[in-house]
């Protein structure tokens, strides 16, 4: 009897949870489905759910009409570039803070975090004018630099919390054996730090890929990444739902997959260790 009750309970929960999950996922699913329709079918009422002529035409059309691949490449360069450079600067800093903490390490960490709280719009004008005077408006370089600085506090913090978990005794032992600082980093620390660095890399690529304040305000056409490219579909003359869906599907698919892999790191990275 009791077993049957738990079984019924489980069936009920299964049905309910799937219903909720699919409802929340529906806008994404709908976008993916629409990307395979013709423009006519995309706006048809009643809407066709699955029974329509599946076609890849929109995907080719998006590329032909607006050079989708260039914008995708911009997104790749900007997100990888800003994250890569950020890691380069943050790894030594986080390493030093985790393994040779001084009196002010904690203050420095908190201060770094506070720079992240600065609303972007508060410094829109200066950054815009600096880029303008350097001739960097609508350039990938400006976005790589700005997004790197924006995410640097998160990168340092994430690395710091990961490095903190590496037992210090191992480093002591290596030092006893006469390993130099350089060797210590390359042979002892790096192998243990790789998973943490990889998670940090993943989460920050996602954040940079989806960033939609600076990418919209500092680019117009040449350097526009996917966030800005998709925004161009908001104008009334650009109302092509099937093409919008195709462009959107391509823009979110890679990040969705990466996101699913990094869901654990997400909590850690975005709560700065406040929730474990």
């Amino acid at each position: 009897m009791a077993r049957e009750a738990t079984r019924n309970r489980k069936i009920a929960f299964t049905a309910f949870a799937w219903l909720v999950g699919l409802t929340l996922f529906f806008p994404i699913l709908w976008t993916i489905l629409t990307s395979f329709k013709t423009e006519g079918e995309a706006i048809a009422t009643p809407p066709s759910l699955l029974f329509f002529e599946w076609s890849l035409e929109n995907y080719f059309e998006v590329q032909r009409r607006s050079n989708y691949l260039r914008h995708a490449m911009n997104s790749v360069v900007i997100s990888l570039g800003s994250t890569g450079l950020g890691l380069l600067v943050a790894i030594p800093a986080a390493w030093a803070m985790a393994f040779s903490p001084g009196k002010h390490t904690k203050d420095i960490l908190m201060w770094m975090l506070s720079t992240k709280m600065l609303p972007a719009v508060g410094v829109l004008m200066p950054i815009y004018l600096i880029c303008q005077s350097l001739g960097l408006l609508d350039s990938r370089i400006a976005l790589v630099a700005v997004l790197m600085m924006m995410n640097l506090p998160i990168i340092v913090w994430m690395l710091y919390t990961y490095f903190k978990e590496i037992p210090g005794e191992i480093l002591e032992a290596a030092r006893m054996d006469g390993a130099s600082l350089g060797k210590e980093i390359v042979y002892v620390l790096t192998p243990m730090a790789v998973p943490g660095i990889a998670s940090t890399l993943l989460l920050n690529i996602i954040l940079a890929w989806n960033e939609a304040f600076w990418t919209l305000n500092l680019t117009s056409s040449q350097a526009a990444p996917l966030t800005a490219f998709i925004a161009s579909y908001s104008s009334p003359e650009g109302l092509f739902w099937a093409k919008l869906s195709a462009a959107s599907t391509l823009a979110i698919a890679p990040i969705l997959v990466m996101g699913w892999f990094s869901q654990k790191q997400l909590v850690r990275g975005l709560t700065f260790g406040a929730v474990k």
């Binding site: 949870a17 972007a120 719009v121 508060g122 004008m125 996917l226 996101g259 474990k276």
Partner: protein
Amino acid sequence: MATLQTQTAARFMMAPAVVMLLVWMIVPLGMTLYFSFLRYNLLMPGMEVFTGFGNYEFFLTDPAFFVALGNTLLLVGGTLLATVVGGTFLAILLDQPFWGRGIVRLLVIAPFFVMPTVSALVWKNMLMHPVNGLFAWIARGLGFEPVDWLATLPLFSITVIVAWGWLPFATLIILTALQSLDREQKEAAEMDGAGPVSIFFHITLPHLARALTAVTLIETIFLLSVFAEILVTTGGGPGIASTNLPYLIYIQALLQYDVGSASAGGVVAIILANIVAVFLIRMIGKNLEA
């Protein structure tokens, strides 16, 4: 323990990050502060004059400012309410045993990874469109008049779109906290005859307090800066009905080229964000000590 040599090395390794962040913080902030005291319009170069608090007076007495401030608070508050309550509910649901839990979890968190411009346009066109949108079709099917969501309820519609994106974030964090809940404590309460409701309020909710605070503070920081969703859906309209503070500053800055009052607005936005930031930083700082 740490020798003088490693201390020096440590400083050396921290220097690039610290110096870069310091420059990144001080230079633009200094410029914003400086501009905010100038009459400075990009359309009239070379005419900059010092105006004292003139820009602040202009920005803070503009009726649009109060509308924008109200909209900002409504957008933040509405999204917080929806995501914290919805996130708690979803987290408890995902914590139950059922078939395909891993997959449902993936479905639930997916919206977080959709870039703001995509989610806003998908909702605006394919779901909320008054003629061809899915909601309109459902409304007609049920015998109602379709609603032009973004024209009649712009701020509410944007709140829905933003909340859809942030719900997974709240869910994930609350779920993480939920899974660290001591099962024995719950079982003991069950043995003593406590019902699910009183277990929720006396055991689960207190345990979640910390996570809920974290979600609230972190989301607030991000939600105070909502921009792209407004830009591609309503453009702040109709009129200024869905203009929030960042969007108002953007209009002053890049559409009216009024550097001075945009900068004054920027300073106001920074102060507003800092009020929240102080609490968040204090909370994280406490955690760092523990």
